[in-house]
């Protein structure tokens, strides 16, 4: 299976305060989808990612899709088919934007 590689031109950072807020919401059973926990910046364009997107993005450096899913299943309370389809949709979007490629 091909491995994912980030485009090195994408500048990014995790938003520490937002990560903390999202984690405490998740711990208390709330939804954290709307909280931007990472920022990607390229050619003057900024994209924010929620906590799931951030966790996927952080792993887009040499891992396969299956490896990413296996790790996220340990972290998030979610059914595997749901996670699989969310990860696939997100990675497709990143690939279309040329933020990642498969090698």
């Amino acid at each position: 299976m091909k491995r994912i590689q980030r485009n090195p031109d994408i500048l990014w950072r995790e938003e520490d305060d937002a990560v903390e807020e999202a984690n405490s919401l998740l711990e208390s059973g709330g939804a954290a989808d709307e909280i931007g926990t990472a920022i990607l910046f390229s050619d003057g364009t900024m994209v924010t990612l929620n906590i799931l997107g951030t966790e996927i993005w952080k792993r887009c450096e040499g891992m396969t899709v299956d490896e990413i899913i296996a790790e996220l299943l340990q972290e998030f309370d979610v059914e595997e088919p749901v996670l699989r389809s969310d990860v696939a949709a997100f990675l497709n979007e990143l690939e279309e934007k040329r933020y990642i490629k498969y090698v």
Binding site: L11, R13, E15, A18, I39, F41, D43, T45, M46
Partner: protein
């Protein structure tokens, strides 16, 4: 779409002079920038030579994975400078020009050069279409219309309404080269060049995605907004970026200026350039004069 409100900026604009009037500790400021996890640092050197500290800043910040855009005066770009930068090159090197004629005496094809920075003023704005035609034809990849620097009391410039129309008309037949990336920070300059594309930043990003540091180390929300919000001789960049002065200012900028309420364009222009509006009217509720 507007960009979200950030807890700290992602972009710093920093002007450096070779001989600062007040000695600003460049390396300390660079450490502050790294600590704040800034993503892009735009350094503009305003003078005839690049101070040595600048090379160290570029190296340290690049190692911290910060993208660096370095702007130098075109008149002082030399092969020697390109060589000095080769060990720690910035992501982008822009040559600042103030007229299209300056380009002809330049070695703009040097591989170190990414493109041009063209500060717009009342004497050169009519050259905008010709400049865009020229860079498109020559395959130049970057053209930046930078924000005006107003911290020394300069008068703000804006395109006249007729100028916006004439620039759009002059560019209407042009399909810019696909690789050319144009940055226009002024919402009305953007409208003149890209009349059919909404302004990418949505609303004013002063003190949100960006901060500006002047050569003395004084921090402003944006170069077009000469309202100091801190001094790096006294406090850290993090304290300024997370401080109450910045947050209160942002709250004001998120509201539409009172004088714009009821205007049918307000939904798209979001109050235009808020720095310019404030300087001219003396209030956060004043209209950007470019809108009139």
């Amino acid at each position: 779409m507007s960009l979200p409100e950030l807890s700290t900026p992602i972009r710093i604009y920093w002007d450096i002079t070779p001989v600062p009037l007040v000695h600003a500790d460049h390396l300390k400021i660079a450490e502050y920038i790294i600590a704040l996890k800034i993503l892009n640092l735009d350094i503009a050197v305003t003078g005839e030579s690049i101070p040595d500290s600048c090379f160290t800043i570029i190296k340290k910040c690049s190692e911290a994975r910060i993208g660096i855009t370095l702007t130098v005066s075109a008149a002082f770009f030399t092969k020697l400078l390109a060589e000095s930068l080769s060990t720690a090159p910035p992501k982008e090197l822009l040559l600042e020009i103030t007229s299209i004629e300056e380009i002809f005496s330049l070695d703009y094809t040097h591989p170190a050069v990414s493109g041009f920075s063209f500060p717009i003023n009342e004497n050169n704005w009519k050259q905008i279409p010709d400049l865009i035609h020229f860079v498109s034809e020559k395959g130049i990849k970057r053209l930046v219309f930078p924000m005006q620097r107003l911290y020394s009391g300069e008068h703000p410039f804006h395109l006249p309404a007729q100028g916006i129309v004439s620039i759009s008309d002059a560019l209407s037949s042009l399909s810019p080269a696909p690789l050319l990336q144009i940055t226009a920070h002024d919402p009305f300059v953007w409208r003149a060049i890209f009349p059919n594309t909404p302004f990418p930043n949505g609303r004013c990003q002063a003190a949100n995605t960006m901060l500006y540091i002047d050569p003395k180390g004084v921090v402003y929300p944006c170069p077009v907004m000469p309202v100091p919000i801190g001094d790096l001789q006294i406090t850290t960049l993090k304290e300024i970026a997370k401080g109450v002065i910045k947050r209160e200012l942002r709250a004001k900028l998120l509201k539409l200026p009172a004088d714009c309420i009821g205007c049918e364009m307000a939904e798209s222009c979001k109050g235009g350039c808020r720095g310019r509006g404030e300087i001219i009217s003396g209030s956060w509720d004043g209209i950007d004069p470019a809108c009139k």
